[in-house]
Amino acid sequence: MPHSSSLRFGEAAGTLLDRAFDARDRHRPSVPLPRIGIFGNGFPETLVAAAGGLPVHLSMGRLRRTTAIDEFIEPFVDEEVRVFLNRLMNGEFADCLGIIFARDDAPALVAYQYTSEWVRQGRAPKSVPPLFLWNLVHTATPAVMHFNALQAEKLFDFFERIGLRRPSDEAIAEAAAAEAGRRQALERLETAGLSGTTAMRWRNAGRFMSATEHADLLNAALVDTKRTAQKGMRIGLIGSSLASTASYEVFERFGTIVCDWQPWGAVWPGPGNGNATLPEILRATAADPSCPRITPTTAYRNALLQALANARCDLVLCQLAPTDDTFGWEIPALASSLERRAIAFINLGFRDTDPETWHARAATLISAKLEARK
């Protein structure tokens, strides 16, 4: 496993993490490896690393210009899908050997289906790499475990087709060890007393580099960074995928985000990544309670409430993408559960397309609610 050497440049590790987060999938890690695009949560990146590839998440980028596919994307399709599809058809992922989509991540499935259809119709540029649908089912019956093991075999076949190696047990164990190192570094990040904004940025920077490099940078950055006393309320952030520094900064005017339980929050990397064997990776991935499709269905809300309680939140902020059709079903039950626990809950509703309008509205709502509780 190549060792990270980003730090040799002498730059502060925090700066490197910030730069990687800002660059998103355009970030170039210090050790070049074959790039494998990932769309969605729920895929164990360990397996790409074990195959000799670099998993790079493609769903957090920014749109520069639209392409012909844009007119086929309905307005209720998630924005990250629209951005991804346009960028893909612009040739922006031509440097990926392949792209893996997580079926149980709703935007990822749509992204896969629309991409596949565009390719089938012969309208996609040659730069679109081979696609793979990661069909893992999120439950733990023997039939599902057998099915999930077959999906891993199909994934390994895909790796070979695109020029990676079929992961051996040893390679999986080695990649899992690197992921376990990243997990330890992330645990230190969560308890380092940093702002939730910084934690979100540094955590997600790892979506664009190897686990080893990410762990090294986090460990170095945490040595360099002074612990600051947390101020204000202990905030939990829930709802739709969010990776906006500006939004986090607005929320943190009222305290510190100590529990970030939205799809682009601390639920990544998934729990299977650090396990040393394929069956253990698959079992833990299938049991990830942050997947909205987990069975039993109660596991999702229970895990969310437990995370908020463990973080001793006294304020929970819920924000939604304008396209939400799933998390909204949880809101009334969450609100009453939190009320029973005397935790303030503020549903900020749908994010506005204009960030300034949305931030002003969110700040007003939070202020008003907190004032009313005095």
Binding site: A106, Y114, R120, V137, T295, T297
Partner: protein, 425 residues
């Protein structure tokens, strides 16, 4: 231009049967008999065969909407804290249940089901059914729904006999295993044993019924003029479909076919002078079904196609091949996806539009029911490339709050005017 439209005798018989069935079911379940509350894309066959009555979520939703209650319930939904961009069709019964005033509901409401069943085809189905389960305490059986990675565009050509290739062995293995678990639960619930031999005969009866519907579709598609309105097509297909494989359903399908055949032979049609043939894409507009006849008088335009009839054949006929549960898995494992996911839906709609000689399609796009709306614009483009004019209808099957009939009629009329002008009429 319009002849005096005479409804089919079959329609009266079907609706009377459904009314009687509903009354009997209501009497049974309100006196404590067990029943299951299930989604439309679940294996109803297993419940029927085990003798456990079912109430289908989408059917119940349509009943509530037809009683003009959806507006009230969707307003109420928002007072509970659910936002207004959540799915409506699948959730209307849940909201009625949460509202709790059984007197307001059709039948005086539903008692607690003995089991709930949904397939995880859309992400929100499990959320909605989970809330039902929390509310009623009824156990929830979820059927998983891994996707088909490489959907064959002409799925209907493979689905009847080569379903193993089409739907993939790993998916079918999983679904059969889940069916076996469901059967075990139903056996426990009913105290009966699953009769495998009887199930084979039952599956054969369903295939026979769907072949009759295929004949009917052929009659409708090839008749010189459309002989019945889709407001009659739908109940004559869907009521037997809710009871598929039963003696009544088969005999009704035959009666419907015979009556249609006679009607076509006698030259009876919705319009004496049929100028434009239209298709209604998507679920029914359950709160305003009379909309379907709006353009008959003004433009000589008739809705000749709705998905329910042709889908009865393409979506349901599955050769049993010595394994009835696996054949059922082949029927269920992509049931909903075939109607919503590219390339399945676009290819099928083009095939159907050509077969039915369609000029104009009205495409219902429920923006707050993403699973039902996805792929719409791919399907629209495919139809347009096949020479069909497509009108997008951004509305909902059961929520009338954003439905403006006058505005929609004006939009459709403008397109129909243009089509008539093109045809030189």
């Amino acid at each position: 231009m319009t002849s005096t439209y005479v409804p089919l005798e079959s329609t009266r018989i079907a609706t009377d049967h459904q009314r009687g069935w509903a009354k009997s079911l209501r009497a049974q379940i309100t006196s404590g008999a067990k029943y299951a509350f299930v989604n439309a894309d679940t294996p109803h066959e297993l419940f029927h065969h085990m003798g456990l009555p079912i109430v289908t979520n989408q059917w119940w939703s349509a009943i509530i909407a037809a009683k003009q209650l959806s507006e009230y319930y969707f307003d109420y939904m928002e007072t509970l804290g659910f936002h207004d961009r959540l799915a409506r069709y699948s959730s209307l019964p849940l909201i009625a249940e949460l509202e709790g005033d059984t007197e307001r509901q059709p039948w005086g409401g539903l008692p607690k089901p003995s089991i709930l069943c949904a397939r995880q085809s859309a992400d929100d189905h499990q959320k909605i059914f989970s809330l039902w389960s929390e509310r009623t305490g009824a156990p929830l059986f979820l059927i998983s729904a891994p996707a088909v990675p490489d959907p064959h565009p002409e799925w209907w050509r493979l689905a009847r006999s080569d379903w193993e290739t089409l739907y993939r062995s790993d998916r079918l293995d999983l679904m059969v295993a889940e069916f076996e678990a469901l059967i075990a639960q139903l056996e426990e619930l009913t105290g009966r044993s699953f009769d495998h031999d009887g199930f084979v005969r039952y599956m054969e009866a369903i295939n026979e019924q769907e072949r009759i519907f295929e004949d009917i579709s052929e009659i409708l598609a090839t008749a010189p003029r459309c002989p019945i309105r889709i407001s009659e097509q739908i109940p004559n297909v869907m009521i037997p479909q809710w009871h598929r494989g039963s003696e009544w359903a088969l005999s009704h399908a035959k009666r419907f076919r015979a009556e249609l055949h006679e009607r076509v032979k006698a030259g009876v049609s919705v319009l004496e002078e049929e100028r434009i043939r239209m298709m209604w894409i998507g679920a029914g507009l359950w709160f305003d079904t009379s909309f379907y006849s709006t353009f008959e008088e003004s433009h000589g335009a008739v809705f000749a196609w709705s998905m329910y009839l042709p889908f009865a054949a393409d979506g349901y006929i599955r050769e049993i091949k010595g394994d009835s549960l696996r054949a059922l898995a082949a029927r269920v494992s992509a049931m909903n996806e075939q109607l919503h996911q590219p390339p399945w839906i676009n290819s099928w709609l083009v095939e159907q539009a050509k077969k039915y000689r369609i000029d104009v399609a009205l495409m219902l796009i429920p923006e707050h029911d993403r699973f039902s709306g996805q792929g719409s614009l791919f399907a629209k483009k495919a139809l347009e490339e096949a020479g069909v004019r497509v009108i997008e209808v951004w509305s909902d099957m059961v929520d009338r709050r954003k439905w403006n009939r006058d505005e929609m009629s004006a939009r459709v009329s403008a397109v129909l005017d243009a089509v008539l002008a093109e045809k030189g009429v």
